[in-house]
């Protein structure tokens, strides 16, 4: 045969698709909302980690933020995780702490992954918040600019979900006002109802994304949620 053919073999490796779930655990989340989160998080492990095909290409990290940000679950293959730690609510809502921490862990996880022979799709950051940032606007915006800096090759795509006192304008800014990236629940919606649907929808989205990884073109799909609406993009004057 004279024409070179593309060759596929059994050792074909797939790039992994990392997801960083940034969960607001400020004081306002205490009570029912944080219980709802703790009840739903094991679903991540069961649905993503329980399917060998999904687990092979998806990596998930869980980061909580309040006054500070912490990796409660480092970036993991969920099939190898025994349990997802329980989250507790306390403190204020520092978006700056969240963005700075995510920037740091994406960089270090990427370098660790690359040295282990992994290839990455652009990571996805999923910000879930029930309030407005309590740190100064200048500080969290600077941290966000650093995270989304076009010159930083590992800059993630961001999806933002808000309920309770979350500000649609802030969520829109977090997602760089991209269409279908920021979602907010109706005013006064009960977080204990919104959270299960949101986390369930996210799991489905991540599972769907895994199929696109096998197809060779990973897609970040936002979940369809009846209790939340997409924040529309502003029209230009």
């Amino acid at each position: 045969m004279t024409i070179a053919e593309p060759t596929v073999d059994a050792g074909e490796r797939y790039s992994v698709f990392p997801f960083y779930i940034c969960m607001d655990v400020s004081e306002s989340m205490s009570g029912d909302p944080i219980s709802a989160v703790n009840k739903q998080l094991p679903l991540l492990r069961a649905s993503i980690g329980g399917d060998p095909a999904v687990a092979e290409v998806i990596r998930v990290a869980i980061i909580t933020f309040s006054d500070t940000a912490t990796s409660v679950l480092p970036l993991s293959d969920l099939s190898m995780v025994d349990a997802i730690p329980e989250l507790a609510a306390r403190g204020r809502t520092s978006y700056a702490a969240a963005f700075e921490h995510v920037h740091k862990v994406i960089e270090s996880d990427y370098l660790a992954g690359r040295s282990a022979g992994e290839r990455w799709y652009r990571p996805a950051v999923i910000l879930i918040s029930d309030g407005r940032p309590t740190d100064e606007a200048g500080r969290w915006q600077a941290a966000l600019s650093r995270l989304t800096d076009p010159s930083w090759k590992r800059r993630p795509n961001i999806l933002a979900f808000g309920f309770g006192d979350a500000d649609p304008a802030v969520l829109s800014a977090v997602t760089s006002a991209k269409a279908n990236r920021a979602f907010v629940a109706a005013q006064g919606a009960d977080p204990a109802t919104v959270i299960p649907e949101l986390l369930g929808g996210l799991v489905q989205s991540i599972v769907s994304s895994s199929a696109s990884v096998y197809g060779g073109q990973a897609q970040l799909e936002a979940p369809e949620l009846s209790s939340m609406r997409a924040i529309t993009v502003d029209e230009l004057d």
Partner: protein, 459 residues
């Protein structure tokens, strides 16, 4: 509720645990569903058995208050088509467990799946080919349309078996007529047929593509992402590693036909020339036979696909004419599949096998000496490794021979009783009566023998 999808939701029925109810979200044509439900009744009894035993074929249409169709009843997958993870939870045994590196389920879930190119894997593909041959043997021809990882369940508990679900989306293709079912039927990404244009429904040839793809992925224990290459480049060459030893003799020596079939099945240039499912049966039987050939362990090991080798009296391959096209590699221009022998343990992934829960490197490393044990032990958890060690002990020992004879008798007894169910359906009760008499004799012998053994103790 068991699951929820785009079309509707599936519920379990507490009073009929062997059935599930699928409720449709939108209006579905009643006539279409009724045609589906009645279709297996038009098949020859042996062929109908294949469909009933290997698929969740809809059994009744459920009507609403105004007589409109609101859903269907389907058989629930038997328990043996599930696996139990180390966390104790049972999950459907989807193809995902077979299309990944066997080290992954061992490490992540404590499951021992058979190594790449093991006979159990070919047995599963053969079971699927038999079902699809039954689909193709009838008029109207039936196509499933989405033979994906989640829709094809497998088991090695008895013989290698498949159980295909989501059959209510199957399509009946009447000769020289437009398809009766016109519902939009989407294919699962990564399991789709690249010759079907976006937005179009799968065709009869789609199931033939799926069989080729499943052959490649299940036999090779890898994902072989060929569709993206086919879409982008039009042509693709697949390098399939075969471990040296018995597998290489079975797959690279005389039984090369499967590779030609695979290449033809995956062609997007000539989808109409893809081989019918029935054409796969004999070559697959040969491969399974060749893999089972050597050694006393192969002959006796539990779970070996012996029943598949015998063929049934109403074999679907007899009722389905094979394509006239000669089997020649040069007819397939866009796909080539090359089986290359690699050193044992190197087949599949370059990675070293993870420390499997069974502690037996042969379970995960692709070595073929352990193949038959792999079949026997498939999907048994780590704690059973002690039993396997006992089982594979010296073939000349008395306990091995006793166990082998007992195992052979047990398989014969199960097969005979399974066959008797077919006999009842076929209306011949004589065989069943003879079998019952034999059962009584066996019980009598066991009781008598026991009494003789116990009597000295009683005195």
């Amino acid at each position: 509720m068991l699951s929820q999808g785009g079309e509707g939701a599936v519920f379990q029925l507490p009073l009929q645990p062997h059935l599930v109810f699928k409720s449709y979200r939108s209006q579905v044509e009643r006539g279409d569903l009724e045609s589906l439900v009645s279709w297996p009744g038009s098949l020859a009894p042996g062929v109908e058995d294949v469909v009933r035993l290997s698929s969740a074929w809809p059994t009744s249409v459920v009507s609403g208050a105004d007589g409109e169709a609101v859903g269907i009843l389907m058989p629930r997958a038997p328990r043996r088509f599930s696996v139990r993870h180390s966390d104790g939870q049972r999950r459907l045994a989807t193809l995902s467990y077979l299309t990944c590196d066997p080290a992954r389920p061992a490490k992540a879930y404590g499951l021992a799946v058979p190594p790449a190119c093991g006979p159990g894997r070919f047995g599963i593909i053969l079971a699927l080919a038999r079902l699809l041959a039954a689909f193709e043997s009838s008029s109207p021809v039936v196509s499933h349309g989405d033979l994906s990882t989640k829709n094809v369940l497998w088991s090695l508990e008895r013989d290698p078996e498949v159980f295909v679900i989501d059959c209510d989306s199957a399509e009946l293709h009447w000769p020289q007529a437009t398809p009766v079912r016109s519902r939009r039927r989407a294919m699962t990404p990564n399991w789709d047929d690249p010759s079907v244009e976006k937005g179009r429904n799968p065709t009869v040839a789609t199931d033939r593509y799926s069989l080729g793809l499943i052959f490649l992925r299940v036999a090779g224990a890898a994902n072989f992402p060929i569709q993206s290459f086919q879409r982008r480049e039009g042509r693709v060459r697949v390098e399939f590693p075969v471990p040296s030893g018995p597998a290489s003799r079975a797959l690279v020596g005389a039984n090369r036909e499967v590779w030609h079939l695979c290449a033809k099945a995956l062609s997007i240039e000539a989808p109409h020339e893809r081989p019918r499912a029935a054409e796969w049966i004999d070559p697959l039987v040969e491969v399974v036979g060749a893999l089972m050939e050597p050694g006393p362990i192969s002959r006796f090991s539990r779970g070996a696909p012996r029943a598949l080798l015998r063929g049934s009296p109403a074999s679907v391959s007899d009722s389905c004419p094979t394509s006239d096209a000669p089997l020649a590699a040069e007819h397939v221009r866009d796909v080539s599949v090359e089986a290359t022998v690699v050193a044992q343990g190197a087949a599949g992934r370059a990675d070293k096998p993870a420390p499997g829960a069974s502690g037996d490197p042969d379970d995960t490393g692709g070595g073929n000496e352990a193949d038959d044990q792999g079949v026997a032990a498939a999907l048994r958890k780590a704690k059973t490794s002690r039993v396997r060690t006992w089982w594979s002990s010296d073939a000349t020992s008395l306990r091995y021979q006793t166990a082998a004879v007992a195992g052979a008798f047990w398989r014969w007894w199960l097969d005979a009783h399974r066959a008797s169910l077919s006999a009842i359906r076929a209306g011949t009760l004589a065989r069943l009566v003879a079998l019952l008499v034999l059962d009584l004799l066996i019980v009598g012998l066991v009781v008598g023998f026991g009494a003789v053994l116990i009597s000295p103790l009683v005195r």
